[in-house]
């Protein structure tokens, strides 16, 4: 096949990602905060990804698929595909034996089942509530007083797991504040918070069934506290992408390639 450049762009609630593919080879990617202006973010994400290539421009890209909640407003996209299908496709491409994907994003989480080709078989979403999402952990990290990237490892250092009763982010924040005032250990509180988030997403996974292998995508896949607890809960080793946040955009770029192959 001649050199075919495709791209995927994922406009999420928290971050915008772009992936550039050349045939089946991942050329470059970018991750930027989405901010208030989704169109500008889409453009910036694309520009940054292109800057990392060997002088490619938007005109070199044969087909662009947009995904994420902001997918319909990307002016330079040729078509849209939902992030559900894109995460399935992307995760399966990275790990061909993956059949169950948990995408834990900034403001929603999804449990996805796919077939051996990465085609969507079933899905269930939680987007009504921040519990189980990146936003929950961001809020809790702030309350605890640790950088986001440190709360996962800290939670694994706990001596005991303090049970957190609230599943709601807002009420959970109050509960954590009260525990800190009581002098409870931060690591123990974090252990309870991580257990709560895992319980939440486990319920989601149970709704569609868990078929090995199992992958986690989205920013929370970088949280070792969540990953380890999920592995223990499910009894399966989790397949983790090197850069879990770009899996949706990767899937979108692959769909873009598929369209060209169909033609």
């Amino acid at each position: 096949m001649n050199r075919v450049i495709t791209a995927g762009i994922d406009i999420g609630a928290a971050t915008s990602k772009a992936v550039v593919l050349q045939n089946s080879h991942l050329l470059s990617y970018s991750i930027i905060p989405t901010g208030a202006e989704s169109v500008t973010s889409a453009q910036r994400a694309m520009d940054e990804a292109l800057l990392k290539t060997d002088k490619l421009s938007l005109e070199d890209i044969r087909h662009i698929v947009a995904t994420g909640y902001g997918r319909v407003i990307v002016p330079f996209a040729n078509e849209t595909v939902t992030e559900i299908s894109c995460h399935a496709r992307g995760a399966n491409w990275l790990f061909p034996s993956v059949r169950t994907v948990l995408d834990m994003g900034g403001q929603d989480c999804k449990a996805i089942r796919c077939d051996e080709q990465g085609k969507l078989v079933n899905f269930v979403m939680n987007d009504k509530c921040a519990a189980g999402t990146g936003r929950f952990l961001e809020v809790m990290a702030q309350v605890i007083g640790l950088p986001l990237e440190e709360i996962g490892p800290a939670s694994l250092q706990a001596k005991e797991e303090i049970r957190i009763n609230s599943t709601c982010t807002i009420f959970g924040k109050s509960e954590v504040t009260a525990l800190l005032r009581q002098g409870r250990d931060r690591q123990d509180i974090l252990a309870g918070l991580h257990a709560a988030i895992v319980n939440r997403v486990y319920t989601l996974l149970r709704k569609i069934g868990i078929e090995p292998e199992f992958a986690i995508t989205g920013g929370i896949a970088k949280n070792t506290g969540v990953v380890k607890r999920l592995e223990e809960r499910i009894g399966l080793r989790v397949r983790l992408p090197e850069e879990p946040q770009i899996v949706g955009a990767l899937g979108a770029a692959l769909f873009a390639r598929d369209r060209l192959l169909e033609k």
């Binding site: 909640y69 939902t82 992030e83 559900i84 299908s85 078989v121 079933n122 899905f123």
Partner: protein, 412 residues
């Protein structure tokens, strides 16, 4: 914020319903002013009996859907919540309680508002929330309430003499109440005429629903959720029968010419549960992808009505309702029904509405969804209130629908 519009109809006849509905409500106001007794009713109160007794019936749940379709429900619901009704209470009940108790806080009610009631009639069939709601209205309005009870039949249709006798007693109790309220005597012949006409209309509806099995589908749920209205609220009238005769003729013509809701169907869906009345255009959404919502789980005429079971019209009604499988069906019967319909209508996937304020339907929808998925039938659950548009998020719903379409097309 809901940005979508009403459903796009495939049939010209369906477009006559809004006029029929406006006339119906105008007539109730007119009759009330002329001194006819007005009953505010729950669904499943047999309007044929009220018509036979010259009582004007106003069905509140339908009025609530009118308010919702005009996207006024959130204001009415908010008014109901202000007077003390929880957000967990049925959206219809909240709206009407807001209308009754906080009239100054709601927008202008559609069709000039409701005719002033003389009494209330509630049927225990299918929904227990209604009983509390109607009791609250009775207190608020200080007017009599009659509860019409119907036996539940766990195994569907039944020859149980106990159930038939009980249903007959309840119907006679309803008649006695109406006689007391109106001062008029019940005329069985008038009821007989209504019942016969009602049966004829039901036959026509049944045929229309059979015709909808055609490929391509000539009439989908986008039409039927509107077109079912006369059968629910004008049963036993010539006007109602004429409407469905015309509808049937149009559906037959579509089939003869091979005209479907979409020219080339890629997938066929069922909509299970109460739709979102403020955004009926969701029923058209999949048409852009080559899909069509062919049939609905609720409000569908499943079987031909039984022929007259007795010369006495009250006994006839009692025997018919207990011997006919239908409401109140158990969860198991409903599931069997849906699984049969999936085969008969060649359904590729089912969209189920999960309505937070309709407790009865919510639980059965969960079981139905599980059963469908076990049979390998793709499903999508959408959780929004049927009337309160504050619970609806366009982006979230459309993402789910888009992903469901992708799932169906990937499977094809």
């Amino acid at each position: 914020m809901v940005t979508s519009t009403s459903a796009r109809k495939a049939l010209k006849t369906t477009l006559e319903v809004p006029t029929l509905r406006r006339s119906y409500y105008a007539r109730t106001l007119d009759e009330s002013q002329k001194g006819k007794k007005v009953a505010w009713c729950s669904n499943n109160i047999p309007s044929e009996v009220l018509d036979a007794m010259d009582v004007t019936s106003v069905f509140l749940e339908n009025y609530a859907t009118v308010i919702a379709a005009k996207r006024l429900a959130s204001a009415f619901c908010a008014a109901g919540e202000k007077v003390g009704f929880s957000q967990d209470v049925c959206g219809y009940a909240r709206m009407l309680m807001g209308y009754i108790l906080a009239r100054d806080q709601v927008p202008e009610a559609p069709y000039g508002g409701l005719a002033k009631p003389d009494f209330l009639l509630v049927n225990s069939y299918s929904c227990d929330s209604r009983l509390g709601w109607f009791a609250a209205m009775s207190r608020a309005l200080n007017i009599p309430l009659h509860v019409h009870d119907a036996p539940h039949q766990p195994d569907g249709a039944s020859d149980s003499a106990i159930n038939a006798d009980y249903t007959e007693r309840e119907l006679r109790g309803l008649v006695a109440f109406l006689e007391e309220q109106t001062g008029a005597r019940f005329n069985p012949e008038r009821l007989r005429k209504r019942l016969d006409l009602s049966r004829q209309t039901s036959d026509i509806m049944f045929e229309i629903n059979e015709l909808r099995k055609a490929v391509p589908c000539p009439m989908g749920s986008a039409d039927m959720f509107t077109a079912v209205w006369p059968a629910m609220y004008m049963a036993g009238t010539k006007e109602c029968e004429d409407f469905y005769s015309k509808l049937r003729a149009e559906v037959e013509e579509k089939i003869a010419k091979g005209i479907g809701v979409v020219p080339e169907e890629k997938f066929r869906l069922m909509w299970s549960g109460i739709p979102f009345w403020y955004n009926m255009s969701l029923l058209n959404y999949v048409e852009d992808f080559g899909g069509v919502v062919v049939i609905e789980g609720f409000y569908r005429s499943r079987e031909r009505r039984l022929r007259a079971q007795d010369d006495d019209p009250i006994r006839d009604m009692a025997l018919s309702s207990t011997r006919q499988r239908g409401w109140p069906a158990t969860i198991i019967n409903s599931i069997d029904d849906v699984l049969d319909a999936v085969k008969e209508y060649r359904i590729n996937g089912v969209v189920l509405s999960f309505n937070p304020s309709c407790r009865l339907s919510y639980v059965s929808q969960m079981e139905l969804q599980r059963s469908l998925e076990e049979q390998g039938i793709p499903t999508l659950g959408l959780e929004c209130d049927m009337a309160d548009e504050r619970t609806y998020s366009e982006g979230q719903v459309k993402t789910r629908l888009d992903a469901f379409v992708e799932r169906l097309l990937a499977k094809a």
